[in-house]
């Protein structure tokens, strides 16, 4: 006699494998590109330069600039579409990366300072 597969039996079976379920769902979701865990990337501003001056990030990630100089700086998109605003010495500011954003930026106060982001696509 075959046992009937009921909703309750499925739930009971899943409950018995707690470690496997998140892993399985996680892999499936990652494969669909919806389970990227956003990361925070740090860029130091020091000696009137962005370090690193080129940073690879994914949509949803956070990029945080920390100013180690005395002079205030900004990170501002070359096309003006985004701007951290003034970052005083010792302070930080951050943005969230999105797929459509302009990637080249500079310091509005000191145009000799340039940097860029590179987008890594979600897989």
């Amino acid at each position: 006699m075959r046992r009937a597969i009921t909703r309750r039996s499925v739930l009971r079976a899943l409950a018995a494998t707690p470690a496997v379920l998140p892993f399985t769902l996680g892999r499936a979701a990652a494969h669909n590109g919806i389970n990227h865990s956003p990361q925070t990337h740090e860029i130091a501003i020091s000696g009137f330069a962005f370090d690193p001056d080129v940073l690879v990030a994914k949509p949803g990630d956070t990029v945080r600039w920390t100013n180690h100089d005395i002079a205030p700086h900004t990170a501002t998109a070359v096309d003006g579409s985004w701007d951290t605003g003034p970052i005083a010495g010792g302070a930080s500011a951050q943005i969230t990366v999105n797929a459509d954003m302009h990637l080249d930026y500079f310091c509005r106060f000191h145009p000799i300072m340039n940097g860029s982001l590179k987008l890594e696509e979600l897989r």
Binding site: G47, F48, D69, I70, A71, P72, P86, A88, G89, R108, F109, H110, P111, I112
Partner: protein
């Protein structure tokens, strides 16, 4: 070495249009050097306010705003450090000469308008930063005794060298 120091001092004074006799800047104490630096910052802030009042050029205005922002930040750090060290900046012949020269230069700039002002302001900013940077890098920093004061001057020099590069670009763009 003495001739070299004298030449740098003369360059600074000429840039500030000061007909003063060159004296040994290298003999100044740390608190006197701090006074010169504070004075030099304040002079550039006043040039910048003049530019904001006279110029309609967006690049010149942006540069002037940066000069006010950066030199104010440096002066705040300098005052905080002097306060921490429990000393006061001490007035001296070089600060006085700089102030006299700057007053004359401000009068000269204030008589100009439009492109003439923009070009003269940009050229003065370039010459002024070149002269101050030479003085700070070649004379002041090697002769400062206190490590924290020296470190602040090194950070300041980094800023002023960036200003010099920025001014150089502005001079080119205004040709």
């Amino acid at each position: 070495m003495k001739t070299f120091l004298k030449n740098i001092t003369i360059a600074l004074l000429v840039a500030a249009a000061v007909p003063a006799a060159a004296q040994e800047a290298a003999d100044l104490s740390d608190t006197e050097i701090a006074h010169v630096a504070y004075t030099a910052d304040t002079i550039d802030i006043r040039y910048a306010h003049l530019a904001l009042a006279i110029s309609d050029n967006s690049e010149v205005q942006a540069f002037a705003e940066t000069m006010i922002r950066d030199h104010t930040a440096v002066n705040e750090q300098a005052l905080a450090l002097l306060d921490k060290l429990g000393v006061a900046a001490k007035d001296n012949f070089l600060s006085q000469s700089l102030n006299e020269g700057a007053a004359a230069k401000r009068d000269e700039l204030a008589a100009l308008q439009g492109d003439d002002f923009d070009k003269a302001y940009a050229q003065n900013e370039l010459a002024y930063h070149q002269a101050v940077n030479d003085l700070v890098g070649e004379v002041f920093i090697p002769n400062i005794d206190n490590a924290e004061v020296k470190s602040l001057f090194e950070a300041g020099l980094e800023i002023f060298l960036a200003h010099q590069a920025h001014a150089e670009k502005m001079v080119e763009n205004l040709k």
